[in-house]
Amino acid sequence: MENTFELSVTVNGTSYQKVIDPRTLLSDFLRNDLELTGTHVGCEHGVCGACTIILNGDPVRSCLLFAPQVHGQEIITVEGLGTVDDMHPLQEAFREAHALQCGFCTPGFLTTLVPWLEENPNPTEEEIREAVSGNLCRCTGYQHIIDAVKLAAEKMN
């Protein structure tokens, strides 16, 4: 490749250096180059929210960023929220409240809600509905997701 970019980025606390084609979408970089396949790709035009990641503390769509744009920055993906043995309270709440069925949408909900719960520790149901309005779920009907967020807020307080 003559047209390349030397990318250095911190993902879930680990720093990576990779040579990439500048047109690589961040979602593809995470999945293909770093093999972090927890970030899902649904629509690739910003509508579904499955690809949401946390960039410098804020949830954003990774399908609408070119990988070179995150050069020198810090990313947290769903893999960085917790482990199987040590889950984030929101992940525990998702399990307990049955907030997922197929699970395709779940990483996007989690990466949207973890920073949000830090800023909104005592949310109302209406606020929770607004907070998840940028993430589509085709299975649950959302009700159990709302329940899980309430449960997580209780756990975290």
Binding site: G46, C63, G134
Partner: protein, 292 residues
Amino acid sequence: MKPAPFKYYAPQSVPEVLDLLNEYGYDAKVLAGGQSLVPMMNFRLVQPAVIVDINKIPELSYIEPHDKGVRLGAMVRHSQAEKDPLIKEHAPLIHETMPQIATVQIRNRGTIGGSLAHADSSAELVVVTTALDAKFKIQNQKGERLVPAAEFFVGLLTTSMESEDLLVEVQIPPMPAHSGWSLKEVARRPHDFALMGVAVILTLNKKDRCTEARMVYLSAGDGPISAPEAAKLLIGNEITPELITAAAEKAAADEIDPGSDIHATAEFRRHLANVLTRRALEEALQRAKGGN
């Protein structure tokens, strides 16, 4: 759904951006928040040979008082504007508009300058800055100019900027005393692009007569669509429920030009315009009279 190859530049200052735009002309695209450009590139609706990423330029993200109003650097993100106390105080219509634009993940990246430069006729900021008579500061290698909203938006996804131009600042003037404002819209789901919407600003004199009225519609034609004839029904009069009904009907029937698509027919959009204009005028009137 992958973008075509491009050369990537991430300049650190405005002069460097202007040099690149001058060099590459229509082959280059400015990349701001990327929330409109990247979807279009993913679909290969556009295939720029050169991307000029302006996210690395810190000096374009300011919000400052200006002539009793505010001015915003082009790279102010939607989420930054949404939370800003100066905007809340000096540009309440902008403050009220921000949460209605897209969802939080999009607002964390999307920029004021990008939304305006993109000039989508269903973008809230396009109609709101038109209603507010905002001014746009544009730079290129040769110099700088200040363009009023009415001359900035010139048609379908089109502004009066040329390929070598960079939008650097938006100036929002204050509303006159005794003014009220409102933005009403209907979308299929909250935060989707709206099927129809209207921004209203009303100004009254001390005797509660209307001295100025502006109604600007989104998703109602190729750009922001104003309704000057409907406004004429209001100006000079005390605003009554009957006048509000008449103005809403006039605007919806005669002044807007909405299209039909899979989401809504033109007829339904006119119906929405009528109802939303009534609600927006009522709210603006209340606020102009001092009731919040």
